[in-house]
Amino acid sequence: MTKKHLHAIHITQDKCIGCVHCMAACPSKAIRLRDGKAKIIDELCIDCAECLRSCPYDAIHTHTTSFDALSAFDYKVAIPSTVLYGQFGTAVLPNEILSALRRIGFDEVYDLSSICELNCAATEEYLNEHPRPRPFITSTCPVVVRLIQRRYPALCGQILPIEPPREIAAKILRTILPKSLGVPSDKIGIIHITPCSAKMVSINSPATLAKSFLDGAISVRDIYPQILAALRKNEEDALMRHLFPETLFSGIGMGWSLSGGETRGIKNHRAVAVSGIQDTMRVLDQVESGLLQDIDLLECTVCPDGCVGGPLEVENRFLAKSRILELVAVAGEHAVVDQRDASRLYHKNFLSFDHPAPPVESHPLDGDPAKAIRMAKRREKILAGLPKKDCGVCGAPDCRTLADDIVRGHARLDDCPFVTKEKR
């Protein structure tokens, strides 16, 4: 993905047959069929990847970083999402997976569970120091941040201004590695490995940072075959990792990729976890209506069951979840982060946003309310004459959206096959 891509998702025109699956699945009604192909409306897309999940023809692809692109860096660092630990069945330990990443070409690999724990500690401090507003909403899921900026702009101030673990980890490495290695910062590539296409968007156009500390995101799906091959080849290495584990995993951070994983480490505040795009929108609607003020922290992830349900993972999410739960059980409440370090970094604002997520202008019918009201009245009239079958043949996901497109000048009444049939 280069800078010119606003989104991590694109439709491969040759493969798209113009069915209506993606259009019906899109929660922000950002897809239309034009000339028999699906088109994404950039301003409306929130990168949730529901379209990718629903496409029966493999016509929706993502712009994530390719492994080959890493050759631009002299020193390559991987920080894999903890989702990766759930992808290889019950016999493979996280330490083996980290070791396999080194063997396929990364100079160093760092576990994120400890940074997740660090994030939890900072979150507790922030909530202690800021009794209002409530609830705060975590920023780990980049789609949630984008959703709030566009659909719930009044809630921008309720996004908890602590960077997610992937950015914190990259920031720490970016600060320390150039000095310790003697390699210029721009020659060190820090790469996230993720089941999520939206991470790429948060790297290319971060909502709360001047610049992301990450250089790219490789999808679990893309790198899986290489890791698997490396795991198979080196039985001796596996034995070594079993007997001499080199990374200590945080019990508090290990389950971070499961829904409720972020809130599990929050002990002194009331925290609630929500997952799935529809439920997330339902709950954010409630927050916008002034509800849930008795909750301190709201964890929202738009993928089902949390990041473990990310669109670019390989293992079926239920098995991955089960494996991660095993790892969480083994790690228990094991803490690896010194609370004094956490507190020091927090008070230096090292873990904070550069700036709050700004509201992104919504798309009213017109900037002038008087004109918008006239258009809305016209839209109601048009809608009254549409069949309300929401068939999608017109190229819009439902009749209401067609009426909306018509008043905005993007569609015509005779795009509706039922209206034209009656006219004839």
């Binding site: 609607d285 209506s289 009213p364 017109d366 309310p369 918008a372």
Partner: protein
């Protein structure tokens, strides 16, 4: 609102329909965003209409919410058929509630409904007929249009 451009829409609300709690308030909020009203006006209207909708669901048999939007103001009128409010001043007191134990267990009925509407409205009129129903008129001025 006479003379100016006004968008009107009506929403029926059924008493006891907790499954749809908040649905009308959501639609009102979406509409106001599409009409290009500012963020704070939308949020105040969202909170006020949510509370009004919940009052029908919790206490009345049925009700009708009427939305009228002009570039300057949002007006939401609510008419319900229900038990009415015997003492409006008391009902306007924060924390006063006639909610049943069941409703409280669901997290409703904290006695903040009417006070919350008042807090978010620029004007609020209440008329109630005990045994017949309640009429609310909620007026919220769009930002920059304070009278």
């Amino acid at each position: 609102m006479a003379g100016s451009v006004v968008f009107r829409q009506e929403f029926a609300v059924k008493g006891g329909d907790f499954a749809k709690a908040g649905a009308v308030a959501c639609r009102i909020k979406e509409l106001l965003k599409e009409l290009g009203l500012d963020m704070q006006t939308v949020r105040r209207a969202a909170i006020a209409s949510y509370e009004a909708e919940m009052n029908i669901i919790m206490y009345a048999w049925e009700g009708l919410m009427k939305l009228a939007v002009s570039p300057r103001q949002v007006r939401i009128t609510v008419d319900d058929k229900g038990p009415g409010i015997p003492d409006i001043d008391l009902a306007m007191t924060e924390g006063y509630s006639t909610a049943t134990q069941e409703m409280r267990e669901l997290g409703f009925g904290a006695g903040m409904g009417l006070p919350n509407i008042k807090k978010n409205a620029d004007r609020l009129h209440i008329k109630s007929n005990v045994g017949r129903g309640t009429h609310l008129e909620i007026i919220i001025h769009a930002n920059g249009h304070q009278p």
